[in-house]
């Protein structure tokens, strides 16, 4: 950690914080988030900053309240022993308080470590081994349990602060305290002076995964967080008083950046109750900007699609007509740099008679998701929703998180790729002509983009979008990829996967199948099996679907098919051969009505049964779950 400096009053530099007179600049990126919060609190104390649904009721907080809250949390934490330089881990979902804790911790000069809410105790121990935090803020009981189970492996862990204990009572020998307990402590409200940080000081550490699925810790400076946030805000074209929705696990990088972006743009951030209620809550919340994993976003969109298509004929007609019209309008404007007069008028009319009610219903006024890629959506769908005023920005797709940060559109590749300067990242060519990149702090783009194609930003010509394509792994080695034709690469993979699909789907047992990256370069085949066919091969033909898919015979059969397909792929590999490392199936059989499965067909992790690695199949011993069962059986 950086050496301790004396805290100074920030009253002096506050005016400098918001330079609203300069349009599009606002608060400079280097300012710590808590100062941004304070600035907002001073200027727009009255307006609502956060909304969250707790126990079925919507609570909302103004900027001023949040500021006060953060200060008191800092006091509370100080009482509990959080000093500058202390590391405090945070895990949880959908609760704005988690963010406030992060701010309070920064305000205390300590470092918040954002941990995935779905972390298990061993991973928890892993994070601990990296950071040795003494405090852990647990969003819900689940995370408390994780910490309690891992306590033996975390000797320095002093205190678990539980925000929501549900029905819990046990405090595990003083390890776990609730917020209320801490507030109870005398002088918890004593105001502690804030800690003034430099731009390059570490602002936040985020526990995430590299391309190999290994848990890694990403540390970002105030500057980089600020820049990324602003960048993100512009990407999602976020404005002041926009309404955002967040229900993602806090540790997800995009989530934290969304939060900081909202802070910088002073947009209103709402959290839905949980992922199950998300769709319903969204309809009520009517957000302007939604940030979601692609799978969820697609679910929303396609659901609207389906809805519209099943609603009355007239509406469908207006809908289609309006879309085509809007499309023509955009084409027109693309051609002449301005929308045609007639188009504008009609578009307005349509907006009144058709889209306005649509908004009221779905709550989409100008809903955008920065994390939804055109390529990922079914193209017609993407087009339709563009015309609905929902513009969708391209982005890389990570199988686990459904999207990563830092994908800024890069229209004009720069002529000379070598003299690239990244904020805090230095690039040099070594003798082997390979470019090495050194960074004094791991920048977001670099770590998040592990193993992926990322456009790097240069500051040539200020915020010019000039960029080069390079591949940077987390050791910081950069190799250039201008000579690779990305489309070509994409096509070959796709072709090979299509071949897999045709092979698998031709089998009697498999209705249809889709493929998604397993994050290790290979693919997971998600299978929609033909239940009757399964029954035919299963020993007990009476068994129900969820019993069927756990029977050794069935699994073995499916695994066999896939192994065949893998071999075939190796043999006739024109260019790239894709391998299926493991397969999964839907928790319930998909009927035809539930839509044909495209490669990206609406599919969520929780819909999938636990993965069965094909390798296991080869060794004959099947289905670990059964192996655990005691010998004695029930009639």
């Amino acid at each position: 950690m950086k050496p301790i400096r004396q805290p100074v009053s920030i009253a002096a530099e506050l005016p400098a914080l918001h330079r609203r007179d300069i349009p599009g600049v606002g608060i400079s990126a280097g300012v710590p988030l808590w100062q941004v919060l304070r600035a907002n609190a001073m200027e727009w104390s009255g307006s609502t900053a956060y909304r969250a649904k707790l126990r079925g009721l919507w609570k909302s907080w103004t900027w001023a309240e949040v500021e006060r809250e953060v200060v008191s949390i800092q006091g509370m934490l100080a009482q509990a022993g959080v000093r500058s330089g202390t590391m405090v881990a945070i895990a949880g979902e959908t609760d704005p308080r988690l963010y406030w804790y992060a701010l309070a911790i920064q305000r205390a000069g300590a470092l918040p470590i954002l941990v995935s809410s779905r972390i298990d105790s061993s991973e928890f121990a892993g994070v601990y081994a990296k950071a040795e935090f003494a405090f852990f803020v647990a969003g819900s009981e689940a995370q408390v349990d994780v910490a309690v189970n891992a306590r033996s492996r975390c000797p320095e862990l002093r205190l678990v602060i539980a925000l929501d204990r549900g029905l819990e009572v046990d405090d595990y020998g003083g390890l776990v305290v609730t917020e209320q307990d801490l507030r109870g402590v005398d002088g918890a409200r004593t105001r502690v002076e804030p800690w003034i940080a430099l731009q390059t000081d570490p602002a936040v550490a985020i526990s995430t995964y590299d391309e190999a699925g290994e848990n890694i810790l990403v540390v970002c400076s105030h500057a980089s967080v600020g820049k990324a946030a602003k960048e993100f805000a512009s990407l999602a074209s976020m404005k002041a008083n926009d309404e955002l929705v967040s229900f993602l696990p806090i540790s997800w990088f995009g989530d934290f950046l969304q939060f900081s972006a909202a802070l910088f743009e002073r947009a209103l951030l709402s959290s839905v109750e949980n992922s199950a209620t998300a769709v319903g809550d969204l309809q009520v919340l009517a957000p302007d900007v939604m940030l979601a994993p692609v799978s969820f976003y697609r679910k929303m969109l396609s659901r609207i699609e389906v809805n519209i298509h099943h609603s009355s004929r007239i509406i469908l007609w207006i809908y289609i007509w309006s879309n085509s019209l809007a499309a023509r309008a955009s084409a027109h404007s693309a051609k002449f740099g301005r929308a045609g007069f007639v188009h504008v008028i009609t578009a307005q009319l349509l907006d009144i008679i058709f889209r306005a009610p649509l908004r009221n219903v779905i709550g989409f006024s100008k809903l955008r998701s920065a994390f939804c890629a055109e390529g990922i959506l079914p193209p017609d769908l993407a087009a339709r929703f563009k015309s609905l005023g929902i513009d969708i920005s391209p982005i890389d797709l990570d199988p686990r998180y459904g999207g990563v940060l830092g994908s800024v559109a890069c229209p004009t590749p720069q002529s000379d790729p070598v003299d690239v300067v990244i904020e805090g990242v230095e690039l040099i060519r070594n003798s082997a002509g390979q470019a090495l990149c050194r960074s004094d702090f791991p920048a977001i783009g670099i770590v998040e983009s592990g193993g992926m194609i990322v456009p790097l930003k240069t500051n040539a010509g200020g915020w010019g979008r000039a960029s080069i394509f390079g591949k940077i792994d987390k050791t910081g080695t950069l190799e250039f990829l201008e000579d690779i034709d990305l489309e070509e690469l994409e096509d070959q993979t796709a072709a090979s996967l299509r071949a897999h699909a045709t092979r698998l789907n031709s089998e009697l047992l498999i209705r249809n199948s889709i493929f998604r990256p397993d994050g290790k370069g290979d693919w997971v085949a998600v299978i929609n099996p033909d239940v009757d066919a399964l029954r035919a091969i299963s020993p007990n033909s009476g068994s129900r679907y969820h019993e069927l898919i756990e029977q050794e015979e069935v699994i073995a059969a499916l695994a066999g098919i896939i192994r065949k397909s893998n071999l075939a792929s190796q043999k006739d590999a024109a260019g790239i051969s894709t391998q299926i490392s493991s397969f999964a199936w839907f928790a319930k059989p998909l009927s035809a009505e539930e839509g044909t499965l495209t490669r990206h067909g609406g599919l969520q992790h929780k819909q999938i049964q636990s993965l069965v690695p094909t390798s296991v199949m080869e060794t004959g011993s099947v289905n670990v779950r059964m192996a655990q069962m005691p010998r004695l059986r029930v009639a």
Binding site: L167, D170, N274, T277, G280, H546, P630, V634
Partner: protein, 262 residues
């Protein structure tokens, strides 16, 4: 599987209970002691009289001979509702939910015994009645939150998926803040994932709220993992009792099962 069986005092004492339907002996001389704060499982082949035993415990059936005592109850639970008053909750093999009512209403009915306002106050629906309603609603929301039922909060339970209904029924039992919960096949017809979830709920309620559980379950894997002690019934007689390991080692148990395996 956990073998730390709590050394709590006996809560439910089933003493030499026999139950006869006409000519059929459903139970013959069954004696069971359930300890405070343990998870006690009753297993056995179909028609072994498991459910009958449960029905005797919470007063649906009156034993032909023998006695059932709930320790600490103001009076011996002779009737279902008096059993409920003395802190006994129950779920059923084939759900007994109020199908026409929403999830929240079902849970609120779980707290019915705690609602004290009388007809007149209620008719006015101001002051006490209102406050009471709100307070219990809040309590119910805790359970909704705990069991992750937010998505179906206001749905009529009749149409909900089976797994969810099971969970709601469990929640309803929980809502009455009971000392003992009797679960009749809480995981019947669930897939592995749902089963894991359910046993998670049961375990944490048992750990954290110190509620005693008596449960019937067919999935031996689950039973072994979940319960502190197990009683095995066969043809209405108790053929074994003890920790999971003891029971699964017991030869008579195995024979009983193999005898009826198909």
């Amino acid at each position: 599987m956990r073998n730390i069986s709590p050394t709590g005092a006996d809560t439910i004492i089933v003493d030499d209970v026999s139950l006869r339907f006409g000519g059929v002996m459903a139970l013959t001389g069954v004696s069971v002691k359930v300890r405070e704060g343990e998870i006690f499982a009753i297993i056995g082949p179909n028609g072994a009289g498991k459910t009958s035993l449960l029905n005797c415990i919470n007063g649906f059936y009156r034993p032909t001979s023998g006695s059932v005592a709930l320790v600490g109850a103001d009076k011996p639970s002779i009737s279902v509702s008096s059993a409920a008053r003395s802190g006994l909750a129950r779920t059923f093999q084939n759900l007994a939910l109020f199908r026409g009512l929403s999830t929240v209403e079902n849970l609120l009915l779980g707290r019915n015994l705690k609602m004290k306002t009388n007809l007149l106050q209620v008719a006015m629906f101001v002051g006490a009645a209102r406050r009471e309603e709100i307070e219990h609603r809040a309590a119910v929301e805790e359970i909704v939150h705990f069991l992750q039922l937010q998505a179906v909060r206001d749905e009529p339970v009749g149409q909900l998926p089976y797994g969810i209904q099971k969970r709601i029924e469990f929640g309803r039992a929980l809502a009455s803040e009971p000392r003992v919960i009797l679960l009749d096949e809480p995981m019947a017809g669930m897939n592995q994932h749902e089963k894991a979830e359910m046993s998670g709920f049961i375990r944490s309620v048992n750990d954290k709220m110190k509620v005693t559980f008596v449960l019937i379950e067919h999935d031996i894997g689950v039973v072994m993992g979940l319960s502190d002690r197990i009683a095995v019934l066969d043809h209405g007689e108790k053929i074994a009792e003890g920790t999971p390991s003891e029971v699964s080692a017991n030869p008579s148990v195995i024979s009983a099962y193999l005898g009826v395996e198909h």
